[in-house]
Symmetry: C2
Subunit: 490 residues, 2 copies
Amino acid sequence: MVSSALTIDELAQFCKRKGFIFRSSDIYGGFSGFWDYGPLGVELFQNVKRDFWKWFVARDDMAGIEASVISHPTTWQASGHVASFSDVAVVCTKCKQATKLDKSEVGKVNCSACGGKYEVQGEFSLMFKTNVGALKPTEAYLRGETAQAMFMDFKLVQETARKQLPFGIAQVGRCFRNEIAPRDFIFRCREFTIGEFEFFIHPDEKTCALLDAGHKKVKVRLLDAETQVKGKETLKETTIGAMVKEGRLDEWHAYWLAEQLLWFDSLGLAEKIKIREHMKTELSHYSSATFDLDFEYPFGSNEVGGNANRGQYDLGQHVQFSKQKLEVFDEKTKQKVVPRVIEPTFGMDRIVMALLCNAYEHDVKRDNVILHLPAYLAPAQVAVFPLTGKGKEEKIARALVKELRAEGWGVVYDESGSIGKRYARQDESGTPLCITIDPESEKTDNVTIRDRDSTKQVVVELGGVVEVVRKVIRGEKLVTLGKNVETRVK
Amino acid sequence: MVSSALTIDELAQFCKRKGFIFRSSDIYGGFSGFWDYGPLGVELFQNVKRDFWKWFVARDDMAGIEASVISHPTTWQASGHVASFSDVAVVCTKCKQATKLDKSEVGKVNCSACGGKYEVQGEFSLMFKTNVGALKPTEAYLRGETAQAMFMDFKLVQETARKQLPFGIAQVGRCFRNEIAPRDFIFRCREFTIGEFEFFIHPDEKTCALLDAGHKKVKVRLLDAETQVKGKETLKETTIGAMVKEGRLDEWHAYWLAEQLLWFDSLGLAEKIKIREHMKTELSHYSSATFDLDFEYPFGSNEVGGNANRGQYDLGQHVQFSKQKLEVFDEKTKQKVVPRVIEPTFGMDRIVMALLCNAYEHDVKRDNVILHLPAYLAPAQVAVFPLTGKGKEEKIARALVKELRAEGWGVVYDESGSIGKRYARQDESGTPLCITIDPESEKTDNVTIRDRDSTKQVVVELGGVVEVVRKVIRGEKLVTLGKNVETRVK
């Protein structure tokens, strides 16, 4: 359904035109690396965040938190961010474009735009600094990731939420990185939202009872470490189960990687996800295995999520710096242990961008963009149109809007322009269902519901609309839920 | 229902013990002015934010946004924050306690703790500064309020969301203020969440068609300007309608103040809200009227929200600094105008704190804290207990948990300890409904549901549980929804 020709610029223009995403401070010429979600964008974004929560946090073995962006400065010394979370700024000697390199790339790569040689400008920390307090200011940092709060609050959460191993702590929140060269629309920003969790496991427990046949069967398009070492980009079609057998990751790591892929599948994104296994040379010294989850964006395949086996490293660091005991009593083994950690991460803005790329279709026949977003994620689930916008029609429409909003759904009321124009607007907004109240409605107490993707229409009794909408949001096809009509409302 | 003796320390201890709110970076001794929401707190907080959105944003005349925390630095020059958003730090010469004063208070007040004289330490900006960009860093600010994004994005939102005057732009988001003396638990923090909106109106339009009899009847406990000038603290019992008649505020301003009070009423907080009218001497030069909405916290009555008539000031400032036209064509009058603005604001963390204060009861008879939160706001709506936690009971319980979670509700599964202990835990968490699966359930396919506040129990068929829960969340009494039983499950 994606237009093959979609470019990042076309997407950005569309997002601005429809009110999904604006440049921050647009009236001042923007501010590089910062973006605002507009009226449609904020609704989509909220739905994605809520779905993350529903999928990963609403479980017996998980607990959520919402921590402060600014925390005690020792946080970032313990985590290693102060010492080593930095990039190297380079400028191409030929085309003069500035960009960033990972420290490992310096001297090994040439300008990606023109092939020229890079000149190193210096190494820059990605952490934003600020001063806290007036009389005796303390230098502090804006968080570059949400994970550290989960480590710092680990004991408090475990005790207050009465969790036993294994369990996880999740968070969705704003993060800040002073990127040298923000680029690719909302892909590489200086302010962005991460959804991630740390899953705490007994250090000796390698088997995972939750890893069932369904997880093992999950398909993976894998770029493995061996292939990358050879300098190749060939993908292997494999499964989570096969990856475990090959010893690429332990069962708990496999379970969470499978769950991440299953979530992407539910979002309709799985087909464009590939898993890139980190090479031994890339791995942090504390990690036994790390995977990137890359999505095929119009500008190329790049990271939308990750999954790292972090072992006991982070808790160990905080134990060392805080002198607190971050261990937990395990009921099964009767041991006090510092758990090991699996860390699944998602770039929430990158998911929004992937959803938009995936949903975007410029329909030549309809001469319009159709945004094929899943119904439950769309900015609005329903639009209600009184055909004339007058008298009884308006009254019925407004009552219906109220009834639908009470269910917590996004509902648009639109009485302006021809029905065709109103459909076109909602197609571009991604609204799956448009309900029209016409003169027939007054007589027969029924309304027409039109499906965004197929443009097919069904007639439904007014009293049954809520149930029909609920079913469509849960995945049923509209055409099976009412009396099909040709095109009663054009 | 509130314990008369509730102190802020008792509340803070309770919040830490139950996992509502922790000090940020607790393992490093905390970081003054920063807090983390724990597992229960984050669910309550999310429900409050969602309810704000449902009440104020899910309307035809509103649009939401989610803007970046960091924006173009000119933002804060135009807004006046760089020049004048500061407090004066003082230290008491007698008890040595440091605190902050508004500039207007300097030389006029003595130490609130001991009555000693204050010594001025200097004037400090409340704006957190940071540097953006690596090669040529720009000094920028963390936002001190969310409002400026609504002014900067005003035209983009108006055009893309196709809004006509009057309409509003809303946002909920993190803000940062470098407070000199953070205090009173999460009341005065350095990082906090504001929910607010700017409502744009034709500058000549003073009448408001939405202000109906219901709004006019809304009761107000008013501390008016005249009384304050006289140095008195006497409250007047009045109404929104009477305040309009007295010329204290125009109709649009009155409409939104009434809506704010109606929301507080729905949250169960209205009885402890008073409205403080700003005195002429306090008013900013651009504001014709401003009201604080104060809540009676255990440490005294203080601001939980506000409502300012900001006129055309902010848009005018951004027009001046950006040289952009921030005007809109008004269909009714066929005029291009810079709208005037009404700004209702809420401190979202302060609402959480007000809800907790209001809900907290230390029940001596039950020897337990009962948190009487409204069902739809509680961290979890339901807890499910298999009496023994084994065999069929567990199976039924887990299936029920799954069914209830699919509805989007917060659901706790608990099989540990006596039923009495499980009830007590959920009473402290504020969970309104506890469902027990016992040996009877297996035979008769029915379960016991127990009400948090009354401890009364009803028996309901398993298949009808979802509907009963839905009705209780919507405000119906549990005892009317099933067969009352004495205490089947103790």
